[in-house]
């Protein structure tokens, strides 16, 4: 079996339309790996690709693009929420120490209402994204085990291992980290690197998994809840920060909310970045959601 023909044959499959490849590429590659690939095989694949391009009705576009679009929408909402959560956590440092904020909030009920709205809607978004994430992740694992997909399992396994290593290392060096504030920056960078790497691995695994369109359509509901809750949390955060600065500028300044780059990213610029990140990630989630809803509506029509 001449390898040069095999490599070319695998490359030629890319000539087929994307929607067709989403459905048939993997199994065709498996056939090629067992087949005696000859020059005539290459010609046959080229003619086959041309044939599918010329017959639009042969492209499983509607069904498979729909599943793909819904899957990409779910991934986009998930990734947007991860970034949103980082901004959300960073925002919480303003109320640290909590007793001090409670004293301010008791004299300004609007602050308490806005803050509670941020927290409650953030928690709702978190719970909804956990539902979507767990259902999709567990379905992908079960499918990967059933179909013996080593490539998918390796990605999920690596992501889980990476997170576990980080958690274990954090617990081991807990006392050291508490005692050395100068390492907190490095620790945060390592945390972000682990988060990004684990997310990329999981997303790759999800993209290699075939989900039923029905399951993905059900996921639209928690995705919508996530997007809406993120939007409410973002607006409440903006109102809360503006009111906090207007109601009690002394407290705001004491919490590194003074104008300019006071306290590095802890200053007003830092909080502006937090609000911008929350707004952008919310916009991303809503765009992904609308895309998913459109796909869902087209499918139902």
């Amino acid at each position: 079996m001449p390898n040069r023909y095999m490599d070319v044959a695998l490359l030629l499959i890319r000539l087929y339309p994307r929607a067709w490849r989403e459905r048939y590429q993997e199994e065709m590659e498996e056939v090629l790996k067992l087949h005696s690939v000859r020059f005539v095989t290459l010609f046959d694949i080229m003619v086959g690709a041309l044939d599918v391009h010329m017959h639009a009705d042969l492209q499983p576009e509607r069904i498979y693009s729909m599943a793909h679009k819904l899957r990409v929408s779910a991934i986009a909402v998930f990734c947007a929420f991860l970034l949103f959560a980082l901004a959300f956590v960073a925002l919480q440092q303003i109320v640290d120490p909590r007793a001090l904020f409670n004293a301010v909030a008791s004299s300004h009920p609007d602050l308490q209402v806005a803050f509670s709205t941020i927290v409650i809607s953030g928690e709702i978004a978190f719970l909804a994204v956990v539902v979507v994430g767990l259902v999709i992740f567990l379905t992908a694992i079960v499918k990967a085990i059933t179909a013996k997909r080593r490539d998918v399992l390796a990605r999920f396994g690596s992501a889980i291992l990476l997170v576990m290593l980080f958690v274990v290392a954090s617990l081991i060096f807990q006392s050291f980290l508490y005692g050395n504030a100068s390492f907190s920056g490095i620790y945060i960078l390592i945390f972000l690197a682990v988060l990004i790497a684990a997310t990329v691995l999981i997303v790759q695994g999800i993209l290699r998994t075939e989900f039923s369109t029905r399951l993905l359509r059900y996921m639209i509901i928690p995705m919508a809840i996530t997007g809406l809750a993120m939007g409410v949390s973002c607006i409440a955060a903006l109102v809360w920060l503006l009111r906090l600065w207007a109601d009690d500028p002394q407290f705001a300044t004491s919490q590194s909310m003074g104008p300019g780059l006071v306290g590095g990213l802890g200053g007003s610029t830092g909080f502006a970045i937090i609000i911008v990140v929350m707004a952008l990630t919310t916009a991303l989630a809503i765009v992904a959601l609308v895309r998913g809803l459109r796909t869902n509506t087209t499918a139902s029509a």
Partner: protein
Amino acid sequence: MRKEIAELGRYSDPSLLILSSLASGPKHGYAMMEDILQFSGTRLEPGTLYGAITRLEKRGWIEPLAAEERRRPYRLTGAGAAALREQLATMQQIVATGLQRLSLA
């Protein structure tokens, strides 16, 4: 039904071979190619195989089963069995007529 098989154009022969192969049970792509080679002596190339599979699946004559690793088996549907039966009956009639006329010649 015969008209529909004729509509498959250059894929009508490979389609008939695939339907005949799946008549003995579900098979994935490579198993079909091997089976077809064994019972008909025809070596299907992957491009032709998947051109025919796409058309047969589209017509509902075969259906995919859950993937096993990266291989996906297919099985013959009721409509596929009916189409195959009708096509084979026509061929049988052609064979009988041809043989009869040859013996007379």
